[in-house]
Amino acid sequence: MELALNQPAPLLKRLTWFDWLFAAVVTVGGLAALSRFGDYMDIYEKGILLASIPALAVSGWFWKPFRPLFLAVGALSLFAISQYGGNLARMEEAFFLKYLISSQAAIMWMCALFGLATLAYWGGLLARSEFTMKTASTLTWAAVTLGWIGLMVRWYESYLIGADVGHIPVSNLYEVFVLFCLITAMMYLYYEARYQTRQMGAFVLLVISAAVGFILWYTFDRGAHEIQPLVPALKSWWMKLHVPANFVGYGAFSIAAMLGAAYLLAQRGILASRLPKLEVIDDVMYKAIAIGFAFFTIATILGAMWAAEAWGGYWSWDPKETWALIVWLNYAAWLHIRLVKGLRGAMLAWWAVVGLLITTFAFIGVNMFLSGLHSYGEL
């Protein structure tokens, strides 16, 4: 018997033609962007662009649904850009832009779709309807697609406003809330496929809906969706790394907290028969905190390195920095308790829920109540 059972073939051999096509598209797209806009970038930004080519390709190889998502977002964003033809006023004239894929239209569609997805997940959970659950997943995918298109198009729009105004849309509270929704939803969708269970979506989508609520309030009440030029402190390539890394952390911690809530309910018998087994919830909660902690570590380090360049010191005990440290210490303690003491169950679930309060304070509370060097996104 020569057969080596289940032996995983080397990664490259497992790739299909679609994987290669995807990688080719990503590479061509990345290089095209480089040749077209390279003159506007500094060496670091070029580095980031080049490094993102393999990062995106590997993400697609590792998580297959990422490929169609990426291609759809890319194609539709390019279509939107072609509809603009360099003229911002087309936003209110061209049919597709006005109703679907100008940045603001796409983001509002994203909000609506996330709202519907939340309802569908809950409907499916309560009615034990697999079909409704599947619809909910589809709605979530659609929301993610439109959200990314919204951000991509917004990026382009910012340059149409003025060559000096243009910047990557991760620079204020409005933009990062959209990013938060997208990252959280994508991480959830990954776990959904990985664990073959959709029930947790009902809980995760709640936190996304809360963020959507914030986006809507922020748009209609405060007009925060307006694209503003960057203050000098934010004009740096570090922003492209620091902010997204942070939001992987925030997104993951939010997922963990919602699963913590699901765990606590299920343990008391509420929805227990409808939710996955406690071990599964617990496992996903751990996975989320692990990935969140890893990215939050990186984000904090990147933040420190940026601070060293912008403010003259890698650590100034500025309130935002300090709260990032508090969040980090909190989850470090969580991991220690679980991994070293081997503790499981309600206590850790409660802790994950409380962790979200701490995280939320670090995320928005600091901007609202404390002033410091990080005063960019005030409410």
Binding site: M91, I161, E226, L329
Partner: protein
Amino acid sequence: MNTAPHSFGKSLFELLSSMRFAISLLSILAIASIIGTVLKQAEPYSNYIIQLGPFWFEVFRKLGLYDVYHAGWFLVILTFLVVSTSVCIWRNAPNFTREMKSFREHVSEASLAAFKHRHEVSTDLEADALAGQAQRYLEGQGYKVRRVPREDGVLLAAKAGSWNRLGYFLAHAAIVMICIGGLMDGNLVFKAQQFLGMKKIETRDIPQSQVPAISRLSPDNPSFRGSVQIPEGSSADVAFLNVADGYLVQDLPFVVALKQFRIEHYSTGQPKSFESDVELFDRSGNKLREATIAVNHPLIHDGIAIYQASFADGGTRLALRGWNLFAPTASSFPVDGAVHQNTTLTSAGGDYTLEFVDFRPFNIENMGGEIEETSGDTMSVLGGSPVSDNRHLRNVGPSFQYKLRDARGQAREFSNYMLPLELDGRWYLMSGVRESPNEAFRYLRMPLDADGDIDGFMRLRGALLDPELRPEIAARFAREALPQDAWGTEIEDRLKFSATQVLALFAEGGFQSLGAFIEEKVPEAEREKAAGTYLRILELAAFEALQVANRQAGLPPPQSDDATGWLVRDTLNSMSDLFVYGAPIYLQLMSYDEVKASGLQLTRSPGKNVVYFGSLLLTLGVFFMLYVRERRVWLRIKPGGALLAMSSAKHTIDFEKEFTQHAQALDTLAK
């Protein structure tokens, strides 16, 4: 040999390396950190006294709460963390290294049989043949396998994910390293010197050159973070370190000269960039280099990084016209000043000190305007366009700020605009005033005349304040108001008297005096009517006053049109406000020569590289710990059967799945 000191040392060691202690430390550190984010750090002590009152101020000061992160007790917590993490590494090191290397091939059969995760199969295969296949299988799965012959068969001992342990070393050593790097850049050396009386904080407000050596730090100081403000065309060879309620002077190994400081703006008026063109010279005046420093683009020279941190006015020279607001004349006097300098003004009411505080070349104001009703169109459903509408933002030109301090030391703060502003369709020159920095400015608006200046207003003001002109004004007013057949009658005399009285009252205290007079003299039922009459008299008399003032100044008489009417009315309003303006003079900015100053931050931080290296290790370590799963598999093969056992330090669902997979694989192989 269980002596007391030994056991004390041992329990201390136990405590320090215990998980509970580590978690407590992490929690305490987190909670302690909160304090510094709630109480604003490193403010001037006077602010804390106002905020907290003298008693709590003292308590908080003793606790070091104004600089929590450098307080002794905070450093003690950090030190405990370092010690505890080090002890933890020290304690785990032997075990963990052994485990990383070991295959645990000496495991006994009895203990394998007691494993929670075990799977037994019977087989007809030769032990060696099965062992060979199983070994290949496990290696294919990423395991390292050791094959140990046993008297009645074979034992395969396999392990995977040893780097998990390596991750532990990396991450925890990194924590120690980062804390040490941070301490290297902290102010421990200074604290020690201060404790030993070798250094002292300077709290006096004296020129830098007079600061004594005991409050100066030498250029070889290994680590510092200070700042300095340099006006354009000047240079600095020191930086200032803010410490507690005072400062220290850090001598620099070079001289920084500022050639120019630039602010660029976006079209919306928000600042786009701050840049300083600097030159560095060595101490003997030789030029070392020239560079431009911008936010996010520091200059690093000789291990010292120079950052663009802030900006301020560097002593802009101002040419002003001063008006004595309560003098019955229209004449002004010239005043020259410069920002950050003081002048003395002598007036009838006593001496005033004029302190020029700031100058701003631009003021972007939101001029409001109608907020458009969003129609029921798609764009409003979407929250509107993301393209911001900046139509209401306007640059209203330069302004300068000053304080006027009277002989008793009471000061009011003023902010005067150079250019007029259009309000309700008419143009005014604005002067803001407030009593204390946390109030908003209240504005005095002075109307512009037909020539677009405030001279007309000042002329009229002078004439209205002049008692000697009153008879003439009253006479002119009466003649204008009465038909010719009433001239020279008693009615005219009464009207003249009334006008004189109204003018005198107004000159004494504006509308308020008139109001008070009416309240005192007129029965309640008739007050409203009387007020209307008085106002009418005042306005018409003021128009006559303007005629007189113009004649005196050798100017043509004012047109009797709407514009003049408004000028008169606005002047009366504005004069009435003068009585609460709070200053006897108004300063009008005529021209300026701007000098900017750049605020630079200078740091030397030798610990930075240690911290960065530690951060790299931390990242690697965290990934290894969280993403490399440590697992062991044993396969004990005897003639006729095999036992699979599996263990891991951390049980997750992945582990269960993998065990099931190995068990199935063994079933297949054993067939």
